[in-house]
Subunit: 700 residues, 2 copies
């Protein structure tokens, strides 16, 4: 298949919605709160110059005539040939960018604009600014070039309803100045202009083939479309808004509504605002496009950055809870809310775009989704003091879990679905430091310094109960595992990355935090704590170094005989780096020995058969074929920009390979996915985490 | 398959919801606003006496383990044998009644109570009475007889979420005194009692097979269940409520909410009210059961009456619009709202149960869904004065159509989807007379007498523009057909019943109305109109008689050479009959000649090869194999109770045959269906119209 036919999300910010388009068939459409594309028929097409047929972009299935359900006599008649066909796919072109996505076919152009933009801080923004940023709609322009033709030609854009308890309806606003078709009270495609008409039918063929246009007024059919007749010799562009809306309380566990409901009463309100501000909204998207300008990104990187950002916004859900903003990013196909081990990776994106969302999520975790535990050594029932940690997530599919508990974490497990107590403790702290260092929000730090102290103490306790036994590395599992073992975010990998205890990926993040705690405690004049933090950082590094003695790389799990090699051993480096602690991550700084070891490690493992796949893609663990693009982007940035190693030297075309994974076969249906086994997307589909690649826009 | 495994609706009144159960597999469940069962997995089961397995009623599919989606390593392991199996279907028994439905298997009993009851008139009822009648829940009792056993046994009831943007959650009310599992904010199964626990899992097997019950607390899985452990030697019954809720405005076109939202804020409110009033609510259903007592109905009739009433309530939607009640019955699988040609058949049920709903629907039709047309003779563009009529419906799937237009009626058609102008004019009048005669609501009649006069005039105009040309039979089609032809409610049949013009089914209803107008105008002292009405009635009868000259039956279409024989030639008789005009429908009355002809007609056509199928079922038209149970019930009542013919003599086992149609193969999935071709349900599935069989409870 031509490489342009991949799905991409076109999403309002914070509406947990997507107008998905690009994969052939009924594989895109207007989806709300889904873990996948809406799988609707979307019709965007134009009458042929000779007037005989209609050609449309290939985003629908040839469907059975639905009216047969009503009129059984029809069953005995033969089927007529369809008047509606796909454009020849070889004649379709696409310009896919960050905030625009433009399709051309014959005399038709369809251009979609998506906001890729900062969300204004609700405490500081004015209403109009917020409305324009979060209006739950995306925008499109349909252009027909009929200049070389002597016939009128009919152009259409429409879709087929698919929500089980909703049908297709018509929308008329201000006496029809704005009109459209919509599915119940939830989605709509609208336009404006006196010549735009709306039609309903059992199918798009039914609408186009109908003898009497009066029959467009019926509303029994599940298909709706905007229709415009283009005069001979003219080139016409008309505006389209793809709108989403969900009213009232949408969550359980806590009662929250979409933040946009503060500004828009219903779908009609959204449509009217969008049409009345169409040029401004489109111009803003054109401005958004500039985000990636001037970086000379190669095509593969540009593609992955665009897909990652789009999938991120498709997962965003900006809520209002108790009158206050509540920022949620849903976990792609799994739809867990604010999964903290994703938040820590999306941190770089959010700090760049809207740091207040990081604060918002941090606060919700500390207020509702933190807990205290006790600790155990493996195979031992004795309990030791633990400390505070944070849940894996805040719930799933709009159902907020009870305070102190995630939707995900289970008991008595050693693999997937076990607790991520230490992982999430570390992640909350990484986000907290990231937020503080990016904003210098002293007010927030004043409020949270005690909590951070508790977090630090909780980390230290997880090293060893007895100070003399501490080696800077996690040795105890939370009692919440009930005799199981904690896991990391790499839950579906083998122990090399999946096991938390003694893991060098975890150790690297712990080291980073000890370093950052050292700095923070110093800044605050908490010298005893600073000293302890520095000691822990040193111990951690010493332990890692000691365990890599006689090896040219760092084994994944320390002291348990698991000799796998993992790229994420370097992950921790990013946090001191973005905090500006350049000496800490330098070969010549206080942890130069550790930095040198990491360089040696990377150079040793970044080889085919170890951490490079046969196809040249990066393999995050030598012992698993399951590799994650978001983490590859992160680690590759660290390797090249922090460790100063030519990361492209290990596999010249790695970016191209990673791009090809996203596009291969059915993978292209899922927009951005984040778990690939030998290039096949096998999990974490439709996923927001890829925005780690925003780091490509962090200047060295 | 054993004859007990058919789906039946268990529905609150007016909530457009159904807890559907009975067809094996994931074929029932908690459906809201659907045109079919929810197709969910429902788990109602009990641990075996030896504790090794769990047996459940066969209402779920053996599903793949959903956790594999998260943990790909699992894919490489073999599947374990399931701990959850279906009860041997041969050991399951069912007692299916009007308001109760009881399943027994082994030591388990599951009994569902549904309200089959009057809806209080909102203008006259007190809140508590209304709340109890329309609380959006149905009720059940689970009984486990563990008296003969020495082990604890676990019993469970649960289901798997299936709404695309909703997951399974837990519900705790009043510190867990009431608890349950629910799908988003829309459906729930709840119970009460300190020993009842709630569980979540990826599957029911997952919940039952789990080693640590602590893992029931997770919320990532799509399956939820109530769990109770039954002590050895005890017999325990616990109450269950199956709850439905949809908040806010649910319609488009006009903005209406469910009437129950006046009393219940959310699903939790519904659950709490139901549990706190459980005994009253169950007792009321037991009282409902008495509706059909004392009639000595044979089993087949009883079965059909129960199914029809249940499917009717599943389609009811009691709304609040502009602060006032708005009664809607949805049209089964098609979900058109208040289809007027269904209303006229459901009239007999609603007049018996809650005549105010008939008034409510009549008023909405006259206020928003009436229109004026002009008329044309076939193949002639000249327009003649028409008059008022009413639309086919008020919209579809919660989308109210614009004023004066239905969702269904199209232009330039001669078959299905054409206009039903005369059909619906007649139906509105039939309902109006039915309501007035049942209630003697003079206030309503005073308000509507002018409208009825207009209706009468509109009918007369459709006979012929020139008074001298009138023959009592429809001769002109509405200009709304734009050169097409009007159809009747029998839209999917051939011309014998499908064409409105000159149809003797239509003629019979017109005659009935002329007779009723005659009576009404007399009562009101409008003697000129009365005389005209009587003249029209006479003309109608004379025309029918003349056209049956030299035949032993009445041909379906008068004067167009269509010689089919149709049973619904008798339909009109029901309306003067229920109005108490017994002489009018008597052989010895003023229309005795007509009545005698109808008797002759019936005796002539009710024969195998004409209007009796080979299987003994009734065939409403000799030229179509498509036959409709609702109309059969109606006509059979007319034939036996009005025409005084032994209707069973034509086909001794006809009731059994019609019952067997509902139960045959996949037909049993659809609860009640109303279009059968040779016993196969091919349309009008999941349909409310079968309640014409309430006539079996009208004493002779």
């Amino acid at each position: 298949m031509k490489e342009i036919f991949f799905n991409a999300d076109h999403s309002p910010i914070g509406a947990f919605s997507s107008f998905t388009l690009g994969y052939p068939g009924a594989k895109g459409g207007l989806g709300m709160e889904l873990g996948k594309p809406a799988d609707q028929n979307v019709f965007i097409g134009l009458q042929t110059a000779d007037g005989k047929y209609y050609e449309a972009l290939p985003f629908f299935d040839y469907s059975e005539d639905e009216s047969k359900r009503f009129d059984i006599e029809k069953l005995e008649q033969g089927d007529k040939p369809s008047v509606l066909v796909w454009f020849d796919k070889n004649c379709v072109t696409r310009q896919f960018n960050l905030a625009t996505d433009t399709w051309n076919a014959g005399d038709l152009e369809f251009k979609i604009y998506s906001p890729i933009r900062s969300v204004p801080d609700p405490e500081k923004s004015i209403d109009m600014e917020m409305k324009k940023a979060i209006v739950p709609a995306v925008f499109a322009e349909v252009t027909v070039d009929n200049t070389g033709n002597k016939n009128w030609r009919r152009v259409f854009i429409g879709y087929k309803a698919s929500i089980p308890n909703s049908g297709m309806r018509k929308i008329y606003i201000n006496d029809g100045q704005i009109c459209g078709v919509g599915e119940g009270r939830n989605t709509a495609i609208v336009s404006k202009g006196e010549n735009v008409r709306v039609a309903n039918g059992f199918s798009m063929e039914d609408i186009l083939g109908n003898q009497l246009v009066e029959n467009w007024t019926m509303t029994l059919g599940n298909c709706g479309a905007l229709i415009l007749d283009i005069p001979p010799g003219q080139k016409v562009t008309f505006p389209v808004a793809i709108c989403f809306y969900r009213d009232g309380i949408v969550t359980t566990g806590i009662d929250a509504a979409y933040y946009y409901t503060k500004f828009f009463r219903n779908l009609e309100d959204v449509a009217e605002f969008t049409m009345n501000n169409f040029n401004d909204l489109v111009d803003a998207c054109k401005e958004d496009e500039k985000l990636i300008e001037g970086y000379n990104l190669p095509d593969a990187k540009k593609f992955m950055l665009c897909q990652a950002a789009r999938s991120y916004y498709a997962s965003t859900e900006f809520l209002c809870y108790n009158g206050k903003p509540l920022w949620v990013v849903n976990e792609g196909e799994y739809r867990m809310m604010n999964t903290l081990d994703l938040t820590v990776d999306m941190l770089f994106y959010e700090l760049r775009m809207n740091p207040w969302t990081v604060r918002n999520v941090l606060d919700m975790f500390s207020e509702r989704y933190s807990y205290e535990d006790t600790l155990r050594f493996p195979n031992d029932n004795k309990e030791f003091p633990g400390g505070i940690s944070f849940t894996h997530d805040m719930g799933v599919i709009n159902n907020f879990s009870r305070p102190g508990y995630s939707s995900y974490e289970m008991y008595g497990k050693t693999g997937c679905f076990s607790h991520m107590t230490h992982e999430e403790l570390v992640n909350w702290c990484c986000c907290a430091f990231g937020y503080y260092n990016a904003t210098n929000d002293l007010k927030w730090m004043d409020k949270n310094i005690d909590l951070l102290k508790s977090c630090f103490q909780s980390m230290v306790n997880r090293d060893a109960p007895d100070a003399g036994e501490r080696d800077g590395i996690m040795s105890l599992d939370s009692s919440r595992t009930m005799g199981g073992a904690e896991i990391t975010t790499y839950d579906s990998l083998d122990a090399s990355l999946g096991q938390a205890r003694n893991n060098v990926y975890m150790a690297g993040k712990c080291w980073a935090l000890y370093v950052l705690f050292d700095s923070l405690f110093n800044e605050r004049g908490m010298m005893d704590f600073a000293e302890l933090a520095k000691a822990q950082a040193r111990k951690c590094v010493d332990t890692i170094i000691k365990n890599s003695d006689k090896k040219d790389y760092i084994p994944a799990i320390i002291g348990e005989g698991i000799e796998a090699a993992i790229i994420p051993a370097v992950e921790g480096l990013i946090f001191p780096y973005i905090a500006g602690l350049k000496d800490v991550v330098s070969e010549n700084g206080p942890y130069g020995d550790y930095i040198k070891l990491l360089k040696k490690h990377i150079k040793a493992v970044m080889k085919p058969g170890i951490c490079i796949f046969e196809d040249g893609g990066w393999k995050i663990s030598s012992t698993s074929n399951n590799s994650w693009p978001s983490k590859i982007y992160l680690c590759k940035f660290i390797i090249s920009d922090i460790l100063d190693i030519d990361a492209d030297s290990f596999s010249k075309d790695a970016d191209e390979v990673h791009k090809s994974w996203l596009l291969r076969g059915e993978n292209a249906y899922w927009c951005f996915s984040d778990q690939f086994i030998l290039g096949e997307a096998i999990g974490s589909k439709y996923y927001p985490r890829g925005v780690t690649n925003i780091l490509w826009l962090y200047k060295k």
